[in-house]
Amino acid sequence: MTAEDSLAPPRSLYIHLPFCRRRCAYCDFAIAVSGPDLQDRYLDALLAELRLVTRTSPAAEPLQTVHLGGGTPSLLGPERLERLIEAVAAGFSLAEGCEFTLEANPEEVTPAVTREWACLGITRASLGIQSLSDPTLRWLGRGHDAELGLSALGWLRESGIRQVSCDLIFAIPGQSTAAFLDGLDRVLRFQPDHLSCYELTLEPGTTTRRLVDSGRYPQVAEAVALEQLRSARARLLAAGLIRYEVSNYSRPGCESRHNLNYWRGGTYLALGAGSHGFLGGPAASALGLPAGQGVGVRYWHYRDAATYVRVLGQGSSGIRDSEQLDDSQLRLERLALGLRLTEGVEVAEAQLLAASQRLAAHGWLEVEGQRVRATPAGMEILDRLTLELIAA
């Protein structure tokens, strides 16, 4: 993909639904713990922004992917969800076979509700199972147990929603490798199409970070985290789920197209509090964002849901700020993001290729023509390899 291609008019839409029943112990996301009242006002604001966007920049291209992320989008309830989906369908044209993803937590999943989601046009569900050990789920501050997680997965599989993905976390303080792998096996029995397997990141300001920093829970040893990662990769491969990104595995053809677009450097629209969008110059100008020639523009919204609602109430777009990326910044991003993918990234600069060859000699990268990709060993130290390349 060339630079111009990737700055084409957006064909992906991200919508942020920040509500959660509670904040999980490891979460530093833009979420809001609040009741139905704010949800209604938030939805009104969101739809107002949607209308604003579709009015100022009538979508030139049909959307290939729509992603409802959170927070906990499943908290929205079928009626509000219907309102939202109808508004999306009315404001944008959806391409044939558009991937329409809903993130869900097990607490909201019932056999009935999953069928409603399927009817509303959800084609892909991403379920936050996270762990299959009850003590670990409590430690993470999750609101469900292992049994409910698995039940929810089963109901989703039978709901008619085409693709089902789930999230699992590894390298959790206090959890053994055996316990983690046992949970993974139990999930694999449901034959998910897609699985995201994240190493727990101890973000500043989170409860988990404090618990570890204070010494009340041990830091997971590097060797243990690597063992869990490598074992998981092997088991997932045996189950037909192939790693296509640092933390993502899928049956062939079931990759998250929405996320692939991020990693391939594509453009996307964003709506809602805390959401980030990325557009080429013309599309950004249409939204009223400053944009020079040939630049990419990243923009983001007010993080706080109540602020977002207030700002939209005043008729403004909810966008807090934006930045223009010049060619070298765009190339840097494309390299950093593209290397996260197993397929790798096309590299044109001779200097970068030479540096890639040097790292390839140690087995961390593979270079084929202009395509550079990280090997499994390279994926484990990918951020450092990227730094080596950009500083070369």
């Binding site: 590097e222 840097l332 991003e333 140690h362 130290i381 450092r384 730094l387």
Partner: protein
């Protein structure tokens, strides 16, 4: 005509840091109307930003205050404000030499500190009349009686003569001015003798050249006078003389007994050396004023630009700093690890920090400073002696008979309860006990003889931490002595890094090597490969650490909202990486070159 000599008083203020010297000076300026209250800024005399920030005086100042005393007569009071740090001990002695008297300011809640004592002794050696001022009497924890008793027993000035003052509230300030007039002697000196004027400081002014601070002892000095520096030998014609009120103000002449400045188209501060005597070129004095010595650096370190393109800028910046700082010396140096830079000599660690900070602040340079070293004398087999200020210059051991290191006489004043810890510290630093004297109250004066190299690192910090901040110190050079000294090299991934070599005592080489490589392991980030860190003496490894290879470094989640943050992090990391120095295939951050300074003993 100026003020009659009998009505001139030249004095300085001797005080420990934080005992209120600058505040008292401010009050004197106010009380005499030299500075109007609305023009008052804190610490009027400390003009450099660095001085105000650190609460210290680096350059001496001289200010002339008109004062009508209780006797109804008008006096001219010259206050010479002196630097307050041990690095500048020589400058202090010259400023004191320009005076007939000194105010000894002591904090009513603390007592006399080591450096204050050292300066009082200096003042007494110079026959200055000392008036004790007990300051901060308004503080609830003030103990003026105890402090007065200490002044009497330690210095021998009767306790009744102590003035009780609060510079903060202004209480007692009038009595200080009266004491200056009544207790301090007027200068004596003949206007008609050949000129002898003492240089006690100078500063460089971009428009006027060097402004020389002088005290005239004999003769007269005015515009047109042809002067000669008796030690420096330069000859100049005076363009202007004047005094500070506190700004520069031209006067027709400076006569015997007066303090002021002269400007004479002097382009370089090196031509007006502190302590030198100015005389008339046509009618020279036969003998210079006593006490001059060449200021010599005690501490040496390499300064290298982080970005090698900044080398010419660093040279220019050093040239410009040197215009105003005669004590700063430097010469070009090349390091295999750090590239082109300068070996610089400083009066002490504070002086080094000041120069470093000014280079970074005023000239916007980013620097790597190597571990400071002292100058060693190396006796060679061929009978020659060479002086080295850089461990890397040490010749092959086969050519060396012995290495001598500079030693100092260290004086510490401390409350008795901390004596044990401080003596332990001195022993650890190869000190030899000389003397212990108990003073009034609970204080003690401790004298040690120890190597200068042992106190230039973190000795002062250690002294403070082992005495909860109560101990104070002063030192002076006390000759050289041959010791079992060796060069400790550091090897990174098998490559010796010249800028990391240090000279240490043989008995300490292993311990120091261990601490050094351990500290370096902390500051060098993990690399793609395992990196061996070794400390070696003469090719024999005495300590080793291994930085394991990086095994895991990857962001778990990187979605649409994470990209900006990730890119900014990468950009920042790239910048940091480009600032690191490469030794072989290993990237070493700046801090590593200062590791020797930050190790815990």
């Amino acid at each position: 005509m100026g003020t009659p000599t009998a009505r001139i008083r030249n004095f300085s203020i001797i005080a420990h840091i934080d005992h209120g010297k600058s505040t008292l000076a401010d009050r004197l300026l106010e009380a005499t109307g030299t500075v109007a209250p609305r023009e008052m800024t804190e610490q009027v005399l400390d003009t450099m930003d660095l001085e105000r920030e650190r609460g210290i005086t680096i350059k001496a100042q001289a200010v002339r205050m008109p004062y009508r005393a209780a006797d109804g007569l008008d006096y001219e009071l010259n206050l010479i404000d002196t630097p307050g740090h041990v690095d500048f001990a020589y400058e202090v002695s010259r400023a004191l030499a320009a005076c007939e008297g000194a105010l000894l300011v002591v904090d009513a809640s603390q007592g006399i500190e080591a450096q204050t004592l050292a300066n009082v002794y200096k003042a007494m050696e110079l026959n200055l009349e000392v008036v004790p001022v007990i300051n901060k009497i308004d503080l609830p924890q003030a103990e003026p009686d105890r402090v007065a008793e200490e002044v009497e027993s330690v210095i021998g000035i009767p306790r009744e003569r102590c003035l009780l003052v609060s510079a903060r509230t202004g209480e007692g300030v009038g009595a200080v001015l009266e004491a200056v007039v009544t207790q301090l002697p007027a200068p004596v000196g003949d206007d008609n003798l050949p000129l002898r004027a003492l240089i006690f400081d100078c500063k460089y002014d971009a428009y006027r050249g060097v402004v020389v601070y002088v005290r005239v002892f004999e003769g007269r000095l005015g515009a047109g006078t042809q002067i000669r520096m008796m030690a420096g030998q330069g000859t100049f014609t005076v363009d202007e003389v004047g005094c500070f009120r506190p700004g520069m103000e031209e006067v027709p002449e400076l006569a015997a007994g007066e303090v002021g400045y002269l400007i004479a188209s002097i382009r370089n501060v090196r031509d007006s050396k502190v302590g030198d005597t100015i005389t008339e070129a046509q009618r020279p004095a036969t003998q210079a004023l006593p006490g001059y010595r060449q200021a010599s650096p005690m501490v040496w370190a390499g300064l290298f630009p982080v970005d090698s393109d900044d080398y010419p800028d660093l040279k220019e910046a050093l040239d410009r700093l040197q215009l105003n700082d005669a004590a700063l010396v430097f010469e070009a140096e090349t390091s295999a690890a750090l590239g082109f830079g300068f070996r610089c000599g400083f009066l002490g660690l504070l002086h080094m920090e000041i120069v470093q900070e000014r280079l970074e602040r005023e000239f916007d340079l980013e620097l790597i400073t190597t571990a400071p070293s002292v100058a060693y004398r190396v006796n060679l087999r061929d009978g020659q002696q060479m002086e080295i200020d850089n461990p890397d210059q040490l010749p092959d051991p086969s050519q060396v008979i012995s290495i001598e290191e500079p030693r100092v006489k260290l004086e510490v004043v401390t409350p008795r309860e901390y004596l044990g810890g401080i003596m332990e510290l001195c022993q650890e630093r190869r000190g030899e006990f000389r003397h212990l004297e108990y003073q009034v109250g609970d204080r003690a004066l401790l004298t040690y003889d120890l190597p200068l190299g042992e106190i230039i690192h973190d000795f002062y910090d250690q002294l403070k931490s082992r005495s909860r901040g109560y101990a104070s110190m002063d030192y002076e050079l006390a000759g050289y002595r041959a010791e079992q000294l060796v060069k400790l090299d550091v090897l990174v991934a098998g490559n010796s890094v010249d800028a990391l070599s240090t000279i240490v005592h043989r008995g300490q080489a292993q311990g120091q090597g261990k601490r050094l490589v351990r500290r370096m392991k902390e500051v060098i980030p993990r690399q793609l490969f395992e990196v061996a860190l070794q400390a070696a003496v003469g090719g024999k490894v005495v300590a080793r650490e291994t930085i394991p290879a990086l095994r895991k470094d990857v962001l778990a989640k990187c979605y649409g909202g994470d990209i900006t943050r990730k890119r900014k992090l990468l950009e920042k990391q790239r910048e940091g990486k480009q600032r690191m120095k490469r030794v072989g295939s290993v990237e070493i951050p700046q801090e590593a070159f200062m590791a020797v300074l930050t190790i815990d003993r």
